[in-house]
């Protein structure tokens, strides 16, 4: 059972992060940091930051960053990759940034099959502004702007990136979560695979990660992980959906 190699923070994680206790972003950032370190591509990586809780990776990770307006990562990554095709150009996005205000840019980058990578943290709400309705907020779920819970009549149906992107000619589409060590391993494999697709010039890759927002869900971090396992995972198609 014991691991042979030491497990410690990858060198890219330069200091403590600024996220809330039990936040999914901080776990994902470390996973990404491990992959960038293991692939030895930190010096060749430029991360396009979204605006929202997710942007706080830039305070704790020693990596180059470009931060355009909220949600415009699809456009910015397109330009970044085309002017420096030898760099890995990726974003750590929020579901609000990638699927609401930036849906046009995200979809346009995907339909053009730009050789860039999206990691979208789906926590079913706008975390930084206080847990308002996001496209991904589930039917029946409370949010601070839908105090009676989301209903189809009042707020419309929720957004599922897999349903939207399933038939696109893109290189990689996966949905994972981080609720347990084994799920984290799957996420790490998906992160690596997405970046390998970019390395090999295969085209657009997107990994959606179901992450907890204990603060805005009003749950303890442990309960928030259980909520993902019991409430979100059963509603979603999980795993690798496109792998070309």
């Amino acid at each position: 059972m014991a691991r042979k190699t030491a497990k410690k923070a990858p060198v890219i994680m330069k200091c403590e992060n600024m996220f809330c206790a039990g936040c999914g972003h901080s776990i994902f950032d470390r996973i990404l940091g491990e992959v960038l370190t293991e692939m030895n591509i930190i010096q060749d990586t430029i991360i396009c930051s979204d605006i929202g809780c997710n942007h706080q990776f830039q305070y704790s990770m020693a990596v180059d960053v470009v931060m355009p307006p909220h949600g415009k990562m699809g456009a910015a990554l397109t330009a970044m990759k085309r002017v420096r095709p030898n760099k890995y150009c990726l974003t750590i996005a929020g579901d609000g940034g990638a699927y609401a205000i930036g849906l046009g840019e995200t979809m346009s980058a995907a339909t053009r099959d730009e050789n860039v990578t999206f990691f979208v943290m789906n926590n079913t709400c706008y975390g930084m502004t206080g847990g308002q309705l996001a496209p991904t907020t589930q039917i029946g779920q409370w949010s601070s702007s839908t105090p009676r819970g989301r209903s189809i009549e009042e707020h419309g149906r929720d957004f599922d990136v897999v349903k939207v992107m399933k038939n696109l000619d893109i290189a990689y589409l996966a949905r994972t979560t981080i609720t347990s060590p084994s799920e984290i391993d799957k996420t790490k494999k998906a992160v690596r695979k997405a970046l390998e697709k970019q390395r090999d010039g295969k085209g657009f890759s997107l990994v959606e990660v179901l992450v907890p927002c204990p603060t805005n869900w009003g749950m303890s971090p442990v309960k928030a992980m259980e909520h993902i396992k019991n409430e979100l995972v059963p509603r979603y198609e999980m795993g690798e959906i496109i792998d070309k």
Partner: protein, 65 residues
């Protein structure tokens, strides 16, 4: 023998480590860190170095030696 090194000053008190330590080597400690968080402790004798605590910890508290 020390099997896992801790930096409990980073702990924010999510306790995902306790939840995911399958052999129960991690428990609450009586120490409150500078963040005002009641932190955790590891029974080094019980620890099997599975790495689950490192993997689940959002705050890089653990280093498996």
């Amino acid at each position: 023998m020390e099997k896992v090194k801790l930096n409990v000053e980073r702990c924010k008190g999510c306790y995902l480590c306790i939840e995911n330590c399958k052999i129960g080597a991690i428990t609450m400690s009586s120490y409150t860190n500078r963040n005002g968080v009641v932190t955790i402790q590891v029974d080094q004798n019980k620890c099997v170095q599975c790495g689950n605590c490192y993997t689940m910890c959002p705050d890089l508290v653990f280093e498996i030696l």
